[in-house]
Symmetry: C2
Subunit: 147 residues, 2 copies
C-alpha cells in the first residue's frame, strides 16, 4: 500500500483478489495484435474454472484471430465522484473451447451475446498473469471534507 | 440498424456519435504492443480538440512506450440488467504533448491522475478511426414483458 498524497492510497492487489474482482464483472476488454498493430474489443464474459470465457461470432475476424492468440484482458470499476476504483489486467492465451468443453456445458454458461450473430464460437483465455490495483480516498481524522 | 432477435437491435454508430460518447466518459482503455505482445491499461482521460489526452508517470515503462506508438482505445457503457449498452473503439497514434501544447493548458485540463507519481507525462492520441455500436432492447407492442 502506498500513499500518493494526503487523501489517496494506491493498493497493489494479490492474484486471489484480482480473480475475485474479475468474477464480479460481466464486461471486460480483450486486447490483441493484428498484423503487428494493437486492437481491443469489449466482451461479455464469465469465469469457468480458471478460464475467462466469452463468445464470438464463429468464423468472424475476431473469432479466427483469438483462437490461438496471446491476449491481454482488462476489467475495471471506478467511482469518478469519489475518485476511487480498481482495475485488473491479465495476460493470457486464448483458444477455442469447442473441443475441450462439452457443448452442453458451454450453453449452460450465463453468456448471452451482445450483438452477435449465430452460430457462436466459444473462446477461453487462460490468464497466466493477473495484476491489479485499487485507488481509494482516505478520510483524514479531523479533516475538513465530507467522508 | 440490424435486428438480432425479437428484442435486440444492433446499431452501428457514426463517427460524430462515437466522439460524443467518448467525451461522456472519464475512463478508457489503451491497448498497445510490447515486444509483439498485446497489453492494455485503463486511463483517466479527457478530450482536447481532436485528441484523447491522458497522464502517465513520466519516464515509466508505459510513458516511454506510448510516446510514439500505435494504440487502440476503447470506452464502453453497459447496463447488464437491461442487456443494453454501447462501445466505441478507436485506432490512433499516441505521442507526448509537452512540446506541442503549453504546460499551462495541460495543467488546466480536468485530469487528476489515478495513482500516478509525479512528475506527470502528457500523452495525446490522435484517433484516425473510430467505430462504435449500440445494442438496445426494444419493447414489442403488445409484448408480454415489462418495458
Amino acid at each position: 500500500m502506498r500513499r500518493l498524497d494526503d487523501m489517496t492510497v494506491l493498493e497493489e492487489l494479490e492474484p486471489t483478489e484480482c480473480w475475485r474482482l474479475i468474477s464480479t464483472q460481466g464486461i471486460g476488454r480483450v486486447a490483441f495484435v493484428v498484423d503487428g498493430e494493437p486492437a481491443v474489443l469489449p466482451v461479455n464474459f464469465t469465469v469457468l474454472n480458471d478460464l475467462v470465457v466469452f463468445r464470438t461470432a464463429l468464423g468472424s475476424a475476431f473469432d479466427v484471430l483469438v483462437r490461438e492468440a496471446e491476449v491481454a484482458f482488462e476489467v475495471d470499476q471506478a467511482d469518478p465522484a469519489y475518485h476511487s476504483g480498481w482495475s485488473v489486467v491479465g495476460r493470457g492465451t486464448a483458444r477455442g473451447l469447442e473441443g475441450a468443453i462439452a457443448q452442453v456445458d458451454l450453453e449452460r454458461l450465463s453468456l448471452r451475446p451482445w450483438g452477435l450473430a449465430t452460430p457462436p464460437g466459444w473462446i477461453g483465455v487462460h490468464l497466466w498473469e493477473v495484476t491489479g490495483r485499487r485507488v481509494v480516498q482516505v478520510v483524514r481524522a479531523g479533516g475538513s471534507g465530507a467522508g
